[in-house]
Symmetry: D3
Subunit: 241 residues, 6 copies
């Protein structure tokens, strides 16, 4: 049984990672998972938030947002509504936590890196594309910081790599990397964030329709591990280019 776009259940959509997209940012990546396109920029500043000053440690945080017409119908701007919505909050926090899992803050020193992940076009999996692209932007920003002497030449602020993918159960079948049409039909939706060495940073599974059995959960985790491993390779290729 083939998928909407002809993929097999365990196949990712085409992934592209374009580095150096912006002339201003210390790291900038335009990542696409199929038609999902997210611009990830990394901004380095000396110093850390007040609660961390004097600790000798740095900080990494993230903000996620969707352009109003990145989606099929236009959404109101959160700036106009005057509030960040719950979904935006959740995803921004997820991206930040995921990246921090591979950062050695002592090695980073008292520097702050902010990852902005702005969805230019959405077709499912925006948060996982954002994590995956933001890691590459972060890696470039760390290099920039080293070249510009904010970080010592010998320091290794990144302890590993991190990537993320969505998985879900659609019509009873576990599928990797859901596009929007699959996502809205999914009975269960899960986001898996893994390090390059195959460990888990974050697992968030939600029953959208019926609750899911332990066997289904196991199948989804298998697919998520697989997808992250492939994305880890894509990140390496992009960073080697």
């Amino acid at each position: 049984m083939s998928r909407i776009d002809g993929r097999t259940p365990d196949l990712l959509r085409p992934v592209t990672i374009e580095r150096g997209w912006s002339k201003h940012a210390e790291g900038s990546v335009l990542i696409s998972f199929g038609d999902t396109r997210v611009l990830c920029t990394a901004s380095v500043t000396e110093g850390v938030p007040r609660w961390r000053r004097g600790s000798g440690k740095g900080w990494v945080t993230a903000e996620y947002s969707m352009l109003p017409r990145s989606t099929n119908t236009r959404g109101d701007r959160e700036s106009v509504r005057g509030r960040i919505g719950g979904r935006t909050h959740e995803i921004s926090r997820l991206i930040g936590r995921s990246l921090r899992a591979v950062v050695d803050f002592s090695a980073l020193g008292e520097n702050t890196i902010v990852l902005d992940c702005d969805v230019l076009q959405a077709d499912g999996g925006t948060r996982t594309a954002a994590v995956t692209g933001a890691y590459v932007a972060l890696a470039d920003a760390v290099d920039w910081a080293r070249r510009n002497k904010l970080v010592k030449a010998s320091a290794r602020p990144l302890t590993g790599t991190v990537a993320a993918v969505s998985v879900g159960i659609v019509d009873g079948a576990p599928l990797l990397d859901l596009c929007y049409e699959e996502d809205v039909r999914a009975e269960t939706d899960m986001n898996v964030v893994c390090t390059g060495d195959g460990r888990f940073v974050e697992v968030q599974g939600t029953a959208e329709g019926a609750p899911f059995a332990r066997t289904e959960l196991t199948a989804l985790l298998d697919l998520g591990e697989l997808g992250c491993a492939v994305l880890t390779e894509k990140q390496k290729e992009a960073l080697a280019a």
Copy 2:
């Protein structure tokens, strides 16, 4: 190796579920998981939000909040700051989704039930206590709605029960139902929401320190399933009282 409070790794803290705590609400439960105390009230109103009108279906939603001094140091009120924080948003959404997983909205008819989960005292696991207590308040509110003819006598708006528990890895050991001291020391923290028949509604695992291996994830899921099963029993006892 015993835990801070002497429990074995797979033991819940003492759980109490006190129904009918408030004279005004259609359902109200004061639930405690050890020193964590959450007041869960269910408010029934006829009608549904605008986007759902005319569908013949009801709606269930939740709002979570902590009293400013429910915690060890006082937190600012979100009403005073003028904004709901990201954590509050996330937990409110989690509670709402968890409850909706066991609601048949057609059977509920065009009625809305709002679950307010206010943490009176916090000692870890407030969100899981909230889900577990809110289910009982919801059950009482559905009964109220049936007795008051908002819902047909033959309708079964609840398709099952739902309970939640936190699990985590502390000093390398998987533990059930973390208290606050364990929670801050946990390397990995996971919230598991299960239905009474042992399926999963929500799984949210986060590496707080080091990423976690698949074997650790499996151990945590085992503990979570166990804890939810025990909590399901507690809910039944409370509702039978």
Copy 3:
């Protein structure tokens, strides 16, 4: 002519004052005036707001709030609306002023005590119950501060006690301590705050229906003085326990 609940015009509802309700707060009281239940917690922190630094004087302030379903019909959370309403502001200010009337700020030293008064269940008189309970929580917090050396052993930060009660004219008769049903029918509504030695800290009388004559005002003040005197005794008993 007896009242809704059988009381004579000059009788308070049953009053209970439960100290040490919370394990975290330096002072915590669950006070009830009949079915009205307010949780009052006192939080002590070293230091004072910026405008008071270097003065050698402390500060005491209060915040009042109602849980959404403390009332007969659910009210929206002020945190969700993003604004504190006028009534909340007024009552928070009233509680703060009332408590400050019996505080010697030089004796308190540069420490701040915040009183959080959260209405768990409302049945009229929530603001007066809050003042009366908050005083007890404040007294416990001051003791805590003395035991923990934030305040000198010889210092007497409290110069007296303070209690509050509502009075009103219902069907032409002056009544003490109105419950909700009486409150909505009252032609005139007054809150009286007195010190333990029988002086006035605050008098707020409002004609809800017809304006009131000077003779009625006199009768209300008499009742208010009486009610505060009885509440002062209740506070002493609670603090002696």
Copy 4:
């Protein structure tokens, strides 16, 4: 012992009431109590807020505000801060309640009158000047509504008049109509709102320094009654002009 500005304790400052100050508003009054100047405009619109529709009754409400430099040092605009402060809320509510005490809403019919009280220059007693001036603007607006057939010719939407004055105890002496310098030194501060026939609409007394005795309260109420009686005469003169 004479006062700062040479007045006897029971003397008001010079009062002026200038009607028709604005070309747009249905009623507009520039009132001054000494150097305190408040512009009170009354805006009449057909219809009432949603919660009152179909009742056949009208509505009267008020909004109070201070220009940023109406005071000795510039205050931030509440529009810039994005929030109405507690004091502004309290005073707006006081003015609204005071005026509503003399309105027969059935006679007004389903019309709304909004009183805007903007302090152009402040020197103590701004809220009492606002109540006193707003009544005159309201009277003009009601006349306008009658002339323009929004209100029946035979209807009497105003059941009386209302005026307000501040009183206080300064250096142990009860004084009428405090100017700013007296206000900041007052041990007790009270605002009294009376109808033209000498009854009370609102009494708000606050101990700023020491609590006050019943005898002092009596003296302040006497002064307040007197002041309101004189202001009632000034209102009549202004409306007769």
Copy 5:
């Protein structure tokens, strides 16, 4: 063809500039352009915003606002809506920029002057009246600062004068200083801000109906220059009085 109020196309409405309107502000001017009345107050404070500290330079900024019933129909207060609207922002920025064009910030030293321009009555041209009046209030504030030694006796913080006027094309004819009725009918609306020596500080022309030709633009600029020149004379007269 004469105008609504009988003026010739190149005639201003009657202009009055009343200095010293407020007892508190360092400079205060009530300016009227016909029925448009704007209260402009200048508040001087020592020190500058954080981003300018240590520069040796001062700062001048402005805030514009309309009283809710300054207009024909009542507008909601921006403080109540919790947001400054776009139009208010635009005009506040215009006034600030216009005044800063004639300020030598080094001569002013590290002092801040805030110009508050509150429209008491609106009949077209409120922003240009605000600029013109604010300049006079600014001049008085600078004098005050010199007399009070915040600014050196030899310093000349004002490098010139500034005035503003509206022009527009109504029924095909270029007109100076539009009143409200003309403004709503204008096909093109332009605000011109000039220094006293006839140079331009700001030109803002907008096609309200049809786009305008270069020849029309030229005619409007001619009128604007003329109007500003006359207003410059009025300012001089006012400051000489």
Copy 6:
């Protein structure tokens, strides 16, 4: 004397207009003026805002925003600050007015088109690029509406074309289409919006340093007319492609 990037004073930067950039929007254009890149999307919805219902007329509005790291140093998100800044408001309003100048709302019928202009990379002239690109997106959206029968086949909702360019005086020389480095050094900065037939829609000139003479204003208007004429050609080419 050549410019920073080697251009002559009257030369635009390279302009590219890429249509159909987004798969979701009814019109979408990625426009670049040199390194300035703005994504302009047009969203068509049936119906109009409430104040326009039943008029038979449509509505066109615009929202402008900058991605946080579109600039040299990262700016805070307005959604996070909870407020739209003054500059954003001003530019959104300018874009909306500019486009409405070429729309026949009766021909558009009761449909709304929202233009979102999001700056992906900023290097001066973002608002003029936004106007110029938004026009092209609008034209595509109008075509879409016609093809989808929201607009009659015979209707001509666009009465012309509109384009915008910045001009300024740098080191005494009038220059066309300032890049960021020129913009910050400009003594005078002007934005000119013209229709395709050479008339003006908007002229906004501001003295950043010294006020400007009428002769300079004339030179800037000449350059602005020229630049808009060239951009009009670019728009035609893009729409013909």
